[in-house]
Symmetry: C2
Subunit: 385 residues, 2 copies
């Protein structure tokens, strides 16, 4: 490899999107944001880099270790490249849009970067898109965001089933608190439930063990899961949470009876900061999740909190899960095609490729340039492959 | 200010786009890229960060000092955040798309960052969009990109006049070479012409002085400028360049007679790397330029070059020059509006804002939430402001 070719290699986890993938990504992001907009979510666009301490505030703390850091020569302060946009949208809602009417509906889409990829997602740059519904806690708000996430995925060409997996990350803590379980035991139970470790749960004695094993057994399709949970002798606080979740399931079903809902009441990881339900979006046959969301507390400028619910879609996973986009059709225009005719073709929706010099065989030249069609004698005709 | 509010401040030159500006920016970028696509330009999307030495290769050398740098923990190599996308698109054309048919038409759009803003453009993050037409040198190719730039600006709602200012950065060197001027004198002349410094040019004796003063006098509307240039006793190489420029002007006029063209044959700065004509896009009454382009040599993997022509639009300047976007119309849906009715409204193009709880005065609630319309009794009706 020449020196230039060696230089041209990209860092691990970073890559170029080529035609037609780059256009497809942009189209999918546009479609997502258009669906958000149709539901009254207005777009905000925070910068790619900020002061590090802004990006690690509140819910950003968990992302702190994954961000690229750099010193701002202007302020001599540490900045970071965002690894998640949620914390930025929360900052905007809590500061510049503090006086905007609540509930406040915001959407976002953009690139995020992280220092290290994972085995499942080796990319270090990927596009995110999502919404936040801020300043309200209700089943109606929760249902709105879950339904919106599904609608947005489907608008991108996702055939059903998109599955929504609901979780209650606050349920195990509520049970542990009610039964006054030692913290170590509560943590053990939480990890075991999160990891679906039945053997570990078998070792937890008494009422707590029965309940935790019950949560594990409940995991599955929503209606069956709710039935199982209803049969458990849950403490009142935990019962209220389950009832709220049942209300959410009912509200989702009312709006869209066909939606595939599952419940995993013990799932916790990646939902640590949620203050109510959490949800994860999957598509049949697609490795990994397409997005994730839930209810959380947005920390305001005076330290007070606002209740909020939202989700983030992982656009790279989404793109991998969609059918390949149709290749655009290009029409070759022989050299010196009058500008007005070329304009009329484009106005009619054609993509034109102008010949820049006369050629002997226009059809051959069209094929060479990847054009499936040729403009000749006032008509667009296919060229044989 | 509280600690959080202080933390919420953004670094100098970086800012949040709020509604409706963020949506407008995205819409403008989409429209630009759609115009590029209609002319057969296919989108590529390079990563935001790369190895520093890739970003400073070839035409990127000039940008080297303006980039944020950071060390990649994975490779321990120096990376940089792009400050310009042209060099990335050139890298893609010269490596991964090396075997693609020429002429190769590529487009791009994305965010770029730079360490320091300028007085005229204090932003340190801004969106770029542009095209490269690679592997061809001809007046037809040059005319295509100039016309495309104007069409793209106009597609975003730019009323005429968008002015295209053409320059010939290679003209002064051609004259200097033909007259065997000392390098110091040639540099002085170039700077004086670039700065429109007539007094300095008056000090240049002989034939060279006459020619350089002639170039200065020629600056202005294209037809007059070409007449003035035709009257100068230019050396043959310089004359050929002027003739090529006259050909370009004629080709642009043929396709779009109404386009406002000026020529500044002495403009040089920011066109240093151009190997033929350069151009700058202005709009009446708008401070600063909307974009810039020209002909250049793309350096290939084996050190060979390809002839190319392209332009970059400065989307932030473009946005400042456009009329303010119309505010979206929102329709308030009273609590428990049936999902099917809400869906039908959105399918008809409405943006809906769902009431999440019953309210006494739906019209007042609609106004409070910034909705100009209310859905009631099966109809969308305006609410008095």
């Amino acid at each position: 490899m020449t020196e230039y070719a060696a230089r041209a290699l990209l860092p691990e986890g970073l890559h170029d999107e080529l035609p037609p993938a780059a256009e497809h990504e942009a189209a999918v992001v546009s479609r997502l944001v258009a669906v958000f907009a149709a539901h009254g979510y207005q777009r905000v666009k925070p910068p790619l880099i900020e002061f590090e301490e802004s990006l690690t505030a509140g819910p950003g703390a968990a992302q702190g270790t994954g961000m690229f850091r750099l010193v701002d020569p202007a302020s001599q302060r540490l900045m970071a490249v965002r690894s998640d946009m949620t914390v930025q949208v929360a900052r905007i809602a809590a500061t510049r849009l503090q006086k905007a009417a609540r509930p406040l509906r915001l959407s976002y889409a953009g690139q995020v970067l992280r220092v290290k990829g994972t085995q499942l997602r080796p990319e270090r740059q990927f596009p995110q898109a999502g919404v936040e519904l801020i300043g309200v806690r209700s089943v109606a708000a929760d249902a709105e965001v879950v339904l919106l996430a599904v609608e947005a995925l489907e608008a991108c060409g996702h055939a059903r089933p998109v599955t929504v997996d609901l979780t209650l990350p606050t349920l195990v803590p509520a049970i542990a608190a009610a039964l006054a379980l030692p913290a170590a035991l509560a943590d053990k139970a939480r990890d075991a439930l999160d990891g679906k470790d039945a053997a570990e749960l078998d070792g937890i004695p008494g009422e707590a063990g029965i309940l935790f094993r019950g949560l594990l057994a409940a995991a599955g399709p929503a209606d069956r899961a709710l039935d199982t949970l209803a049969g458990l002798a849950l403490p009142p606080a935990a019962r209220r949470e389950v009832q709220e979740l049942a209300g959410l399931v009912a509200a989702i079903r009312k709006a869209d009876p066909a939606i595939a809902l599952t419940i995993d009441p013990g799932e916790y990881r990646a939902h640590e900061y949620h203050t109510g339900f959490g949800f994860t979006l999957f598509a049949a046959g697609v490795r990994g999740e397409l997005g994730r969301g839930g209810r959380y507390d947005l920390v305001g400028p005076d330290g007070g909190t606002e209740e909020a619910v939202g989700f983030t879609l992982y656009v790279d996973s989404l793109l991998r899960s969609l059918p390949k986009p149709a290749l655009p059709v290009f029409v070759y225009l022989p050299f010196d095609t009058p500008a007005a005719e070329a304009r009329a073709l484009r106005a009619a929706g054609h993509r034109t490729v102008a010949g820049l010099a006369p050629v002997d065989d226009a059809a051959a030249e069209a094929r060479r340039l990847g054009c499936s069609h040729l403009y000749h004698a006032g008509a667009v005709t296919p060229v044989a492959a």
